[in-house]
């Protein structure tokens, strides 16, 4: 028994140790003495927080305990955060029962890394709360993500949990430039763990644009999404990502759609057909003029050769974004397409007219001769 476990506490527990004890309104005012003693505040004893209670009988309405009196920094951060409303988000909403608080390194703590998603999910996994505040059900998306699975299946303490990206007390809206999830801060936030990818990203055109404050450029979450993060090798991810690149690079998406890469890929996730990043790279996307770009002339044989065994210099002259409507850029293709279209239109026009005339004339002929041979002749 700790020295600070004063005799007074035993007095308090004489009443409050009864698990069924309630106040006049029916709220439980019971305290589990063993758990409180083991908790991080156990050493403080009852009086550490309930300083206004000097003896028994005590006032019917003792003063409200204010965590801020010790935890001033946390309270200050919380006051600036999206959870600033103390009534809706008292400290206990995350830290659990006020008499049973453990340090976050303790598996019994509600804010132990492996417990955080469930703790946040109490509200953020609740469809009614989601509806009230208009946010999506991020808890279930996270739970199925690669981070969520690493956490729940492997118990990986380093797997990203809510706090890793959003912080704890000072959680700001992603629209706030000071937030760790504000667009320009996302690469650094993810980069806390994914350091090499962040370094690559900073070197690419998108990273440089973001560094300049160009909010149109994509950050990690634009392609990988924030919560439902999928394995990039999964067909679902490969299906959903091409349109994301195409939402800015519209002309490139449209010419890509004309290719066999796209046609086969669109049929439900053909994993092996080339998507944007298979050729352009994913994180350090560079212009083709950059010798380090996989689509630089000097690197094309290697890049195409990843899938097309035997690719040679002539093979890589294939244009993955050729536009058959553009006579200046693709004259050969333009005339091939023109010829094929004329052939198609000409043949069909002639024969459709021929067929209709013939059909009408034959039927007419048949009806006139019907009596002679039963309508078989035409």
């Amino acid at each position: 028994m700790r020295s600070a476990w004063a005799k007074g506490d035993a007095d308090c527990l004489a009443c409050h140790g009864d698990a069924t004890m309630t106040d006049a309104n029916g709220h439980s005012i019971a305290v589990n003495g063993d758990k409180f003693q083991a908790s991080i505040h156990g050493a403080l004893g009852c009086n550490g927080c309930h300083a206004d209670i000097k003896g028994y009988p005590h006032p019917e309405h003792p003063a409200k305990v204010d965590c801020k009196s010790c935890h001033a920094d946390e309270a200050k951060n919380l006051a600036e955060s999206v959870h600033r409303d103390g009534k809706e988000h008292p400290c206990t909403s995350c830290h659990g029962n006020q008499h049973e608080i453990f340090p976050k390194s303790d598996p019994r703590s509600a804010v132990y890394p492996l417990n955080i998603p469930k703790t946040c999910g109490n509200c953020h996994g609740n469809p009614e709360v989601a509806k009230k505040y208009g946010f999506s059900n991020v808890f279930s998306m996270y739970a199925d993500s690669i981070h969520g699975m690493a956490l729940s299946d492997e118990g990986l303490l380093v797997a990203a949990n809510c706090e890793s990206c959003h912080g704890s007390h000072r959680i700001l809206s992603h629209k706030d430039p000071a937030s760790s999830t504000y667009k320009t801060n996302v690469p650094a936030t993810c980069g806390k763990c994914h350091a090499k990818i962040d370094a690559d990203y900073e070197q690419g055109v998108h990273g440089k644009a973001i560094a300049k404050g160009d909010l149109k450029a994509p950050v990690c979450s634009d392609c990988h999404t924030a919560h439902a993060i999928l394995q990039p090798t999964e067909s679902e991810f490969r299906m959903q990502s091409t349109p994301i690149c195409g939402s800015c690079h519209k002309d490139k998406l449209s010419t890509y759609h004309d290719t066999f890469h796209s046609q086969l890929g669109l049929l439900g996730g053909y994993v092996q057909t080339a998507r944007c990043w298979d050729c352009h790279g994913a994180h350090d996307v560079r212009p083709s003029s950059d010798p380090g770009s996989p689509i630089n002339r000097a690197n094309l044989v290697k890049t195409c050769g990843k899938c097309h065994t035997g690719a040679n210099l002539s093979f890589v002259q294939y244009q993955p974004h050729a536009d058959p409507h553009n006579r200046k850029l693709n004259p050969g293709l333009f005339f091939v397409r023109l010829f094929m279209n004329l052939l198609l239109a000409g043949t069909l026009t002639f024969f459709v007219i021929h067929t209709i005339l013939w059909l009408v004339r034959s039927r007419f002929h048949q009806i006139r001769k019907k009596s002679s041979n039963g309508g078989k002749d035409a």
Binding site: H257, D258, T259, F260, S262, Q263, L264, G265, L266, L267, G268, G269, Y270, H308, T309, G310, A311, N312, S314, F315, V316, Q317, Y318, Q319, A322, P324, N330, G332, L333, V336, R337, M340, N341, L343, L344, T347, L348, F351, V352, H354, T355, L357, W358, L359, V360, R361, S362, R363, H365, Q366, N373, K376, D377, A378
Partner: protein
């Protein structure tokens, strides 16, 4: 089973009321059967690829076992059709060179177009609009020759462009770079033309036309009735009758099972074809 034999004999006697003549050999019918089954397969899978952003394309892909299966079926049908095509070409050369069959390249029974076909076309068109008498045709009328050569040219063009995509790195050794882009345009446009032509023009001209409706069975049973022969290829009938060779073509009336089998196969092909035509047209214009 004496009763059963009795029935069969009766049917044969009824059948002998009309004379039947052989129009297509077993080899030709087998060629057509291979051609249309693989073509249906190629068309169904090819259109899924061409219009891969349409809802039905994905549904079909799922139904056959995924996107990979689509490509597999397409290639499998292509290989079978290529073999059939090569056997046909070999057969033509064998007949022309080994057997010195002159009728293959010129003359009334040849598939090769000649000046007469041009005159037939004009005369036929004149008849359609009521400006002349109904022309009569030799063994292969001009539209039948067109059907043949359209398929022949189509197989060369679609086949070459298809293999060029399949084995692109190999073809790149002797094709210029932009040709690799062009082969997809050629393949898909020519494929579209083939589908639209076969499933609308060929179906109507050959099968749904009033003198054949609902279906011309000659390509399935190999024989046609004397009346059909006279109506459709009157000049050939006359030429053979004059030279006394007509009787050599006399054949047995098609059996009931043969007719039923042909109907099932033919209608299945027509239904699949028309479905593909509707899907293709909706996808093309949407």
């Amino acid at each position: 089973m004496p009763e059963l034999e009795q029935v069969t004999t009766n049917e044969k006697q009824v059948g002998t009321g009309t004379r039947y003549f052989r129009r297509f050999t077993a080899g030709q019918r087998a060629l057509h059967a291979t051609l249309f089954t693989t073509f249906l397969g190629l068309a169904a899978t090819g259109m899924c690829l061409r219009f891969s952003d349409s809802v039905w394309a994905r549904a079909v892909a799922r139904a056959v076992g995924g996107f990979g299966a689509i490509l597999f079926f397409h290639k499998a049908c292509a290989v079978v059709l290529t073999l059939a095509f090569l056997i046909h070409v070999r057969d033509i050369f064998a007949r022309a060179i080994m057997n010195r069959e002159k009728g293959i390249f010129w003359g009334p029974t040849s598939m090769v177009a000649n000046w007469r076909d041009m005159k037939d076309l004009v005369a036929h068109l004149r008849w359609m609009v009521g400006l002349g008498p109904k022309p009569r045709f030799e063994r292969y009328a001009y539209w039948e020759k067109f059907d043949y050569w359209a398929v022949f040219w189509g197989m060369v063009v679609i086949g070459f462009s298809g293999y060029a995509m399949w084995f692109a790195p190999f073809f790149a050794r002797f094709l210029p770079g932009w040709a690799l882009n062009a082969v997809l345009v050629i393949h898909s446009e020519e494929g579209l033309l083939a589908i639209l032509f076969i499933f609308s023009i060929h179906f109507v001209n050959t099968h749904l036309h009033p003198d054949s409706f609902p279906m011309d069975m000659a390509i399935f049973t190999g024989v046609e009735s004397e009346e059909e022969f006279k109506t459709k290829h009157g000049l050939e009938y006359e030429r053979l009758a004059h030279s006394g060779k007509l009787e050599r073509l006399l054949a047995e009336a098609p059996g009931t099972w043969q007719i039923n089998f042909s109907k099932v196969v033919g209608f299945t092909a027509i239904v699949i074809g028309l479905t593909l035509l509707v899907l293709t047209l909706t996808a093309y214009f949407s």
